[in-house]
């Protein structure tokens, strides 16, 4: 169990809509090992986004335990979870969620401004330049997101998620807004990061073809794990 990164124990999540309780997650237990590339699948309304939010420390489970890297997360304060998000997690969204009217470069180094550990301006710049080079965005560094293509925007978003050297990358429908060719490029990028840097990747998708790029597919239906399958990618 030493290399288990995420361990969920009986996670429930219930939303209160006025007087009615809406249960979304009904007891999910699962674990993800360090260095895995996992796809979370399910139709809309299955609770996969809620699970993703809990895993990404954006939300708290109603009950259950969430161990991240051996640390109990679900009872942490807002600020504590913000720190975890900053240091250990990276997010890639379907709609990229880049800051508008801010250059690609500044978007990439933005999370460093919130880093608890001291990052000097010089280090931040060096890190940003390195990531720009890595993702082939050097020529676009001064461009605002609105002047970048979808694939470029997603690459900027991935670069941003990696700037704090996270252990896990959460990708919420990363290919949803991209055409199939750039979608494949992004997925290849994920696979490369997973292989070369050992970053654990958790990807939410409803597209089986996209999910097949992962090593393991967890299928969710009505707030419960419906089944786990092996993906096309070899471990």
């Amino acid at each position: 169990m030493s290399n288990t990164l995420i361990d969920l124990k009986d996670i429930y999540k219930t939303y209160h809509m006025g007087d009615i309780d809406v249960p979304v997650l009904k007891g999910i237990s699962m674990s993800i090992k360090q260095g895995e590339f996992v796809a979370l699948m399910g139709s809309s309304g299955s609770g996969k986004s809620t699970l993703m939010n809990i895993l990404g420390c954006l939300d708290r489970p109603s009950s259950g335990k969430y161990y991240l890297d051996g640390e109990e997360i679900s009872s942490l304060s807002n600020d504590g979870r913000a720190e975890i998000r900053n240091l250990k997690l990276g997010f890639v969204f379907q709609s990229f969620n880049l800051l508008p009217r801010v250059s690609a470069f500044e978007n990439i180094i933005m999370p460093l401004a919130y880093a608890r550990c001291h990052v000097s301006t010089k280090e931040a710049l060096a890190k940003g330049i390195q990531l720009l080079n890595q993702f082939g965005l050097t020529e676009r560094s001064r461009h605002e997101p609105s002047r970048l293509s979808g694939g470029q925007q997603q690459r900027v978003a991935i670069a941003r998620s990696l700037v704090c050297d996270p252990q896990i990358l959460f990708a919420d429908e990363p290919t949803g807004n991209l055409d199939s060719k750039t979608g494949i490029e992004v997925l290849d990028l994920f696979k490369r990061l997973n292989r070369e840097k050992g970053i654990t990747i958790l990807m939410v998708t409803h597209d089986i073809e996209v999910a097949m790029h992962a090593q393991r597919i967890i299928h969710i239906k009505d707030g419960l794990i419906d089944g786990t399958y092996a993906g096309a990618e070899k471990k």
Partner: protein, 457 residues
């Protein structure tokens, strides 16, 4: 998140919409500008008032004889002359807080030069020290008479600008001879123009001569101010018939005093008495101690017993100065209150726009929170933005306000003086407004739920 980073971030987001930022700060700009203008003009006026009063003789102390009373009839201030030139000398010598003092006697009457004549509002007899007491040493022409002139009762005088204009027009008055109540005087100097005093009296309509000359050589001065009841009995003028229609002596209300009565209610007669003593304290702080010293000295010199009332009155212009400064301060504060209201309105404007900003940038807040911004980071960012807006508004306001008061000073001739306190205050107030009115929107932003914020369209 370091303050520097917060400032850079805030500046970047403000730069995205410069027009709106400008309009948002407009309220603060107007508020601060009016505060600065009010304070500078207010301070300028109170300084101008101080200058007017110090022009009348800064730190002046005026010593009058007390009113006299005989047989229950009181004669008003100056009814008796209890002050002597020796009192004046003693004050200079023995009161350490007094810078200088001068005796004063008055005369009134016609002044003639050639074919022109004029009646100055004051003809004063004094000594050269008077000009020092009144801060009037600068002569525009000639020189002042000397102490030797005073000792010899020489017929010399200095005249004010107005008198010079009325009698001499464009001629040079120095060394010309004028006649004051038919006594010839040589003009030795012309005083520099001083303008009107607070009451609107022309201070340049003046002739100053040695007090000895005015007292002993100018007829009619001095005597007719002395206690009338004591003097009229002697003067009998029933020479011609017109004088019974237009009596030239005061009506006698009381029967003449017998020798015994005079012996019982003796009026002290001093041969060289003066109307006033004009003294100046070394500084405005020393006015009070100077008054104390003079009171003590004069009581001693006049042989007043303990408990007996003073036979003199001491007044100082500080009282007037204080009143007037208080008045201008009151007006300035009133205007300041109005300016504060406009600052308040400006602050509400900032709050309004910041609230709009927060809801407009909900998604940005969500993104920042997702990558690890804590609540206090978001709070700090929006607060910094509001404070920067307000401080920028404050700086622009200070410039506009200072410029405005300079323009007002230039066009309307209003006095103004730059006030560092006003600028410091304006800075503090604009930062305060930024914090006070920026806090609520910033707090609202920091309380956003990251999931909701990310979903926000």
């Amino acid at each position: 998140m370091k303050i520097k980073v917060a400032i850079v971030t805030s500046l970047n987001s403000l730069r995205r919409n410069p027009m709106r930022a400008l309009l948002t700060t407009l309220g603060i700009v107007i508020g601060i500008a009016s505060v600065i203008t009010m304070m500078e003009i207010g301070q300028g006026s109170s300084e101008a008032i101080k200058k007017v009063i110090s022009g009348m003789g800064a730190n002046s102390i005026i010593i009058f004889p007390e009113s006299s009373m005989s047989f229950g009839v009181r004669y008003g201030a100056g009814g008796v002359k209890t002050l002597t030139p020796d009192d004046c000398k003693a004050i200079i010598k023995e009161c350490p807080s007094v810078r200088n003092a001068a005796p004063l006697v008055y005369a009134r009457g016609q002044v003639v030069y050639g074919s022109k004549n004029w009646s100055p509002s004051s003809i004063m007899g004094s000594n050269p020290g008077f000009l020092d007491v009144r801060d009037w040493e600068n002569m525009s022409e000639g020189e002042c008479f000397t102490d030797r002139d005073v000792m010899n009762a020489n017929r010399v005088c200095v005249i004010g600008r107005t008198v010079a204009k009325e009698l001499f027009e464009n001629e040079c008055p120095v060394d010309k001879e004028i006649r004051i109540l038919n006594v010839p005087f040589k003009v030795v100097g012309v005083l520099s123009p001083k303008g009107a005093n607070m009451m609107g009296m022309d201070q340049d309509d003046i002739i100053i001569a040695p007090w000895t000359t005015v007292k002993y050589r100018v007829s009619g001065s001095g005597q007719n101010l002395i206690n009338q009841a004591a003097t009229t009995s002697a003067a009998a003028s029933t020479v011609n018939s017109t004088s019974s229609i237009y009596p030239n002596t005061a009506v006698k209300f009381y029967p003449d005093q017998s020798t015994v009565q005079i012996a019982n209610y003796m009026m002290y007669t001093r041969f060289a008495n003066i109307s006033q003593i004009f003294a100046a304290a070394k500084s405005s702080e020393e006015v009070d101690s100077a008054i104390r010293e003079i009171t003590q000295l004069l009581r001693q010199r006049h042989h007043l017993k303990d408990g007996a009332p003073n036979d003199f009155t001491i007044r100082n212009l500080n009282e007037i100065l204080n009143t007037l400064t208080k008045t201008t301060k009151l007006v300035t504060n009133l205007l300041l209150c109005i300016a504060m209201v406009s600052l308040l309105v400006g602050g509400v404007g900032i709050m309004n726009i910041m609230l709009v900003c927060v809801s407009e940038r909900t998604r940005e807040i969500g993104i920042r929170m997702a990558v690890g911004a804590r609540q206090r980071d978001i709070l700090r960012q929006f607060l910094t933005e509001a404070v920067i807006l307000c401080l920028a508004g404050g700086i622009i306001g200070i410039i506009i306000g200072h410029g405005g008061s300079m323009i007002l000073a230039g066009i309307l001739g209003w006095p103004m003086s730059a006030s560092p306190e006003a600028i410091t205050l304006a800075f503090a107030v604009s930062a305060g407004v930024g914090i006070a009115f920026g806090y609520y929107p910033a707090w609202k932003a920091s309380k956003l739920d990251p999931i909701e914020a990310l979903r926000y369209e």
